[in-house]
């Protein structure tokens, strides 16, 4: 017996008697003998103290003093109140709010999340969340194909996060659309190339900003070209705090904005669970994937919230649904909402400004020691430094308890020699100075 399984042998006997059988075997007589499970083999039960000891020792293997690895997933400080609230059982042990009278807490929180995401993206409506930025980008591409059913080509910026690119490719293998990459100029989407590639058969263009090399894309210029060709612009944002400082995608012409919410309320957790953000213009809402919460009145006329526009979804529309998504990442969406509420507009702006300032401090200190940025373009909090042998820098960093960044050559051979370094409010001057020491030493 385990502590999660309340039935005693006496309970089981009484329950079997109610069922009118002598033994449990009679209850499962419908399972043919050939399909029966033999005795399971595997580890024996471990009691909680021993279990925790083991996990602590395994977890310690991954600890560092400081990490500058971003590359699409950014670690920001999450206020204690966020996690304290998440640990309320009424929130984390509830499920999808199918019964609105008994789920108003979850429903209102999702409604607030939708508002926060729409505001951050500068768009009209957002859904209740997706799994992560990459699957959200893939769903956005499928949505552009539904919005433009006569078009079948999709262009992906060459500086889109490689995981997003690969996931889009995976999702599209079943369909008729073709994917093309837009080359880069100076680390950013090449506008001239984009113009050449656009045409009457292009349904959508996907661009990330800040892009996977840390550079802020000229979204307004891209948007104007995409719309002139009658296509839809999808903008992905992997660093949610950047939206406190940078012009939101909606203002720059995005028809759909997607992104990653990890960083606000959600820890990296080895890449999952993340939080897929998804927003669009009101006119497109019926082609949107995922769950949506809307206002409703109850029989007494009081304002509350319900799941709405469900006729887009798989449980109603089955094979005609806009997506197969069912469960999303609700608890991560709640964490994101609470963190955003705690920050407020000023706090988010201050946080974003500080990330950018600390990154510029790092860039200046590196420059003084002869370590240069690879690209001159505008950036937010992540930069590519020319390091020659990133593997050596990473090893030297680890020896001092630092994860110094991401070896760009792991993504593409032509990017070799570059180290992608992300800076957040968590990096003090001392910590940045130590990074400069390590990198300058290796560069020498």
């Amino acid at each position: 017996m385990s502590r999660y399984q309340p039935h005693t042998d006496a309970d089981r006997r009484a329950m079997l008697a109610r069922c009118g059988v002598e033994s449990f075997a009679e209850l499962v007589a419908a399972v043919p003998p050939a399909l029966r499970q033999g005795p399971l083999t595997g580890p024996s039960a471990v009691a909680e103290p021993d279990l925790l000891r083991r996990y602590r020792s395994l977890a310690r293997l991954g600890e560092v003093k400081a990490s500058f690895v971003g590359a699409g997933l950014y670690d920001h400080y999450v206020p204690v109140a966020v996690d304290m609230l998440l640990q309320r059982g009424e929130l984390f042990t509830a499920y999808t709010p199918y019964q609105p009278e008994a789920s108003q807490g979850t429903l209102q929180a999702i409604f607030e999340f939708q508002t926060v995401v729409a505001e951050l993206f500068g768009l009209e409506v957002a859904n209740a969340s997706m799994y992560d930025f990459a699957s959200a980008a893939a769903e956005a591409v499928l949505m552009t194909l539904r919005l433009e059913p006569k078009r079948s080509r999709v262009l992906l910026s060459g500086a889109l996060h490689p995981d997003a690119g690969e996931v889009i490719c995976t999702y599209l293998k079943g369909g008729a659309a073709t994917l093309e990459s837009i080359p880069l100029a100076g680390g950013r989407t090449d506008l001239a190339a984009l113009e050449r590639q656009l045409g009457a058969d292009v349904a959508g263009v996907v661009v990330q900003s800040p892009n996977c090399l840390g550079l802020v894309e000229p979204l307004a210029e891209i948007g104007a070209r995409v719309h002139a060709a009658g296509a839809r612009l999808v903008v992905s944002v992997n660093e949610p705090t950047s939206l406190g400082l940078l012009a939101p995608p909606g203002v720059c012409g995005a028809d759909i904005a997607v992104g990653e919410g990890t960083g606000l309320g959600v820890p990296p957790s080895f890449g999952g669970p993340g939080l897929g953000l998804f927003a669009t213009r009101e006119a497109n809402v019926r082609q949107m994937p995922g769950r949506l919460v809307g206002e409703a009145r109850d029989a007494d006329g009081r304002l509350g919230y319900v799941l709405t526009l469900s006729t887009r979804e798989q449980h109603i529309r089955r094979d005609k649904a806009t997506s197969n998504i069912c469960t999303n990442h609700g608890l991560c969406a709640l964490a994101f909402t609470i963190h955003a509420a705690l920050l407020g507009p000023k706090g988010l702006e201050e946080l974003a400004t500080q990330c950018a300032q600390r990154a510029r401090y790092l860039a200046a200190q590196l420059e003084r020691r002869g370590v240069k940025r690879r690209f001159a373009g505008p950036y937010y909090n992540e930069l590519v430094v020319e390091i020659g042998e990133p593997a050596r820098a990473i090893e030297a960093g680890l020896a001092r308890g630092l994860a110094v960044g991401f070896d760009l050559g792991r993504w593409r051979k032509e990017w070799a020699g570059g180290l992608l370094v992300a800076v957040t409010e968590q990096h003090s001057q001392a910590c940045l100075d130590e990074l400069v020491e390590v990198l300058a030493e290796v560069r020498r």
């Binding site: 017996m1 385990s2 209850l27 399972v31 399909l35 499970q37 033999g38 595997g42 039960a45 909680e48 279990l51 996990y55 977890a59 293997l61 991954g62 560092v64 690895v69 997933l73 009424e90 042990t93 499920y95 008994a102 789920s103 108003q104 807490g105 607030e112 729409a118 009209e124 209740a128 990459a134 699957s135 996060h161 995981d163 995976t170 079943g174 940078l246 939101p248 957790s269 080895f270 890449g271 999952g272 949506l292 409703a296 109850d298 009081r302 319900v306 449980h315 089955r318 998504i325 999303n328 709640l334 509420a341 507009p345 706090g347 702006e349 950018a356 300032q357 401090y361 990473i394 409010e425």
Partner: protein
């Protein structure tokens, strides 16, 4: 049972945006401790006006979300017999483990030397899932059950393409979850519905009639969504295999099988496993979950990349998978949920795991035996981990399944899944799981019987339910006609 007690538990909490005052803030950011050069970003790239976010202090935020939480039913506060969702107890130790700094802070692109602990946990969970299903290989990458379905069906499509035998059709029983046909369509397959037989099983004859060389796969759920074990599943699988197709098992109902039946022996080629159901990771008000996929060795080359290889200290991620369907999501999986499932299984051990299915099946049959004189069984076939009743008898008194569901809220229970599966009109699909004590099951039976009595004595009371919940019934049609999907000041 837990009831909402006072007027304070009613809806009417203003949105967080309507609270607070300009200038308030709930998060402190450390002061800038360095001299930074001026920001060099061109104005055109900067935000012109701040986003509409709340301006509230921490006490206001904490009270707001605490009060919202009190408007929810949850496993911790209520019996939650939502059929096919396996709402079992969520152990606290998993919450603790997932928050250990070395796990919560682990970055997937950090140097590989830092990943030994993380990968070891993942490899051990994969081994658990292999043993529990009897299948050969596992991916932990999919983020949810529907994502696992997508993964499995993509693998089948890729395997058929690889042998030069592309096929267009997928057989899906009419009792299936909506995700099955939606997943098939997303993969470009044409869905061929199969009719469940009068006893609640999928008849072998239905498969024989639909089967041809253009059938890529059959998507089955076992036990099916009626809670009935598909006794012919092996024969069905043999037929499908003989015609060159694959057998996909929707693992939504795996809780019924753990310790009872062997998935591999059923002839299943690929199955997704909802960790948030069978392995007790919290449902989170709608995710995150995790949907690992297990498969036979013939499908292994097509698993999404990267694939975990090796054991113990030698576990690594293998990206060199030329036949892989590719990545399905960023990075490697919902590690935080994998950890929780790992801790659940580690604490149970094989002894506890072997009791999951038997105790779950016993609880469902206990409810079935206790309620079958009061409510009409949808199908006569024996129940596994869930039992489906209908409102046939109550309907004669003008009371429907929806009314019964809402009335249950007044009695302090989360309603079962209703009006699903579609083949059982007025369905009430009840899944108690193994973690509810017998006293709670008895209280639920008493409530269901009391509601049935009310359908005779006072049907208006049932039709006007809920009365004691935070809200009365909503005008959902009105909400969809003119949707308001966000707050505006």
């Amino acid at each position: 049972m837990t009831l909402w007690r006072s007027a304070a538990d009613r809806i009417g909490e203003p949105p967080i945006f309507a609270k607070g005052a300009p200038g308030r803030r709930g998060a402190a950011i450390p002061a800038l401790d360095l001299q930074a050069p001026a920001l060099d970003l061109p104005a055109a790239l900067l935000r012109a006006s701040p986003p509409l976010l709340p301006e509230v202090s921490e006490p206001e935020v904490v009270r707001h979300y605490t009060r919202l939480s009190q408007l929810n039913a949850s496993i911790d506060t209520h019996f939650y017999p939502l059929g096919s969702c396996t709402m079992k107890y969520n152990p606290r130790v998993g919450e603790k483990v997932a928050r250990l700094p070395g796990f919560a802070g682990a970055h997937p692109l950090a140097p590989a030397a830092l990943h030994r602990g993380v990968l070891q946990v993942m490899a051990e969970l994969g081994e658990w899932l292999r043993r529990l299903t009897g299948l050969d290989a596992v991916t932990l990458q999919p983020a949810a059950g529907a994502h696992g379905e997508l993964c499995g069906m993509m693998m089948i499509r890729a395997a058929l393409a690889d042998r030069g035998d592309p096929r267009r059709k997928v057989l899906v029983p009419d009792s299936a979850h909506g995700t099955n046909p939606a997943t098939s369509a997303l993969n470009g397959f044409q869905v061929v519905p199969l009719r469940t037989g009068p006893e609640g099983y999928l008849p072998l004859a239905a498969i024989e009639a639909a089967l041809d060389r253009d059938v890529a796969a059959i998507m089955m759920t076992n036990p099916n969504t009626l809670g009935v074990f598909e006794r012919d599943i092996r024969a069905i699988a043999d037929k499908v295999h003989a015609a060159g197709g694959f057998v996909y098992l929707d693992g939504a109902n795996l809780n019924a099988l753990v310790g009872i039946a062997n998935v591999a022996a059923m002839g299943v080629d690929v199955v997704h496993i909802n960790l948030h159901k069978t392995f007790s990771t919290p449902h989170g008000g709608g995710g995150p979950g995790a949907g690992p996929v297990a498969c036979v060795s013939a499908l292994e080359p097509f698993l999404p990349r990267p694939v975990l290889v090796g054991a113990g200290n030698e576990v690594r991620l293998d990206f060199d998978r030329p036949k892989s369907i590719g990545k399905l999501r960023s990075f490697y999986g919902n590690f935080g949920m994998l950890l929780r499932a790992h801790s659940y299984l580690a604490e149970l051990g094989v002894e506890g795991a072997s009791r999951i299915g038997p105790d779950a099946v016993l609880a469902a049959n206990y409810l079935r035996a206790s309620l079958r004189d009061t409510f009409e069984l949808a199908f006569a076939a024996p129940s596994m981990h869930e039992v489906v009743f209908t409102d046939k008898r109550q309907k004669e008194r003008g009371v429907s399944t929806l009314d019964i569901a809402k009335r249950l809220i007044d009695y302090g229970f989360h309603p079962p899944t209703v009006y699903f599966p579609l083949i059982a009109p007025g369905a009430l699909m009840i899944e108690p799981t193994e973690s509810e004590p017998r006293e709670m099951l008895d209280a639920f039976v008493a409530a269901m019987q009391a509601i049935d009595a009310e359908t005779r004595d006072n049907p208006e009371l049932v039709k006007g339910a809920p009365q004691r919940a935070p809200a009365k019934r909503f005008d959902e049609a009105g909400a969809a006609r003119k949707p308001v999907l966000r707050y505006r000041r």
